[in-house]
Symmetry: C2
Subunit: 129 residues, 2 copies
DNA sequence: CACTATACATTGCTATACGAGGTATGAAGC
DNA sequence: GCTTCATACCTCGTATAGCAATGTATAGTG
C-alpha cells in the first residue's frame, strides 16, 4: 500500500493554500521531467521531488500522464525490468516538446507578473511600478 | 450586464492549460494587491491587470474576497462614492499581512523549483541539476 | 508460502475558477 | 419623471483537477 502520511491528526488547513499553488503547474512539470529522456511513472515523481519542490502522489501523476498521452504530447512503452514489475516508460513527442516550450514561456510571463506583485511584500517596501 | 467575450465561437481549448497556471495563485494575488492600501472589488481586478498578468472575472474575485474575509485575513467597509454606486473597500488585517508574507515565501520556493525545472527547456540544453 | 517491495491504475471527494445572469445606486438625457 | 447607461457588488451552476484511499500484478526474500 504505502502512502499513509498524516491522515487527520491535525494538519489539515495549514498548507491548504500552499497546495493550491501547485495546481495546474503539474502538467507542465510532468512534461519538463521528460525533457532529457524517458522516465517511468514513479520515477517521474522522484525526479520532480529532487529537481523541484513538487511532491506528487501516484493518484496525481497517472491521470496527468494519461491526459497528456491522450493529447498526443507523449508516448509510452512497456519495458521489462531486470527485476520486479514491468515499467511503463513515457517519452515526449515532438508536439509535446513544442507545447512544453510554449508552456515554459507562458510560465515565465506568469511567474514574472506574480513576482513583481510580491516584491514589495518580500522587501517590506512600497509597490514597485 | 457587460461581459460577453467569445462565448463559443471557437477559442475554447487553446489556452486551457494556461488558465490552470493561475489556479490557486489568485488568493495570494488578491492579498498582494491590498499590500499598499485599501481597494474595492473592481479596483482590485484592474490593479492586478496592470501590475501583473492576471485578468480575473468578477465571478472570480468576489468569492475569493469573501473567503479571505471569512478567514479574517481582511476586512471590508462600505464607502460612499462621490458619484455612483457605493464601494466596498477591502483592507489587509495584521493576520492577512502575516499570511501574505508566508505565501510570498512559499511562492518564491515553488517558483524557483519550477524555473529550475524549465531552465533546460528555455535554453534548449540539458537539465541543470 | 507468506511477506514485502515495486509499479501501475481507478474511484470518490472536495475545492476552485469563472461564465452567465441578476440587483442596486445614481447621473445624464429627453 | 421616466428611460437609459455606467458602475459596482453578488450568486448559481458547471467543469476541472488534485489527491487520499484502495486495488491489482509481478517477483524477490526468508
Amino acid at each position: 500500500m504505502a502512502r499513509l502520511k498524516l491522515q487527520s491528526e491535525e494538519a489539515e488547513q495549514p498548507d491548504r493554500w500552499e497546495a493550491q499553488l501547485r495546481k495546474g503547474a503539474l502538467e507542465m512539470a510532468a512534461l519538463a521531467s521528460l525533457w532529457r529522456g524517458r522516465l517511468y511513472g514513479l520515477e517521474i515523481i522522484r525526479f520532480l521531488e529532487v529537481h523541484s519542490q513538487l511532491v506528487l502522489a501516484e493518484g496525481t501523476i497517472y491521470p496527468i500522464l494519461n491526459r497528456l498521452k491522450a493529447e498526443g504530447l507523449l508516448t509510452s512503452e512497456w519495458v521489462e525490468a531486470v527485476a520486479g514489475h514491468p515499467r511503463k516508460y513515457y517519452s515526449l513527442t515532438e508536439p509535446g516538446r513544442q507545447r512544453l516550450r510554449l508552456m515554459a514561456e507562458a510560465w515565465t510571463g506568469f511567474s514574472g507578473g506574480l513576482s513583481r506583485l510580491l516584491e514589495p511584500v518580500l522587501t517590506e517596501k512600497e509597490i514597485s511600478q
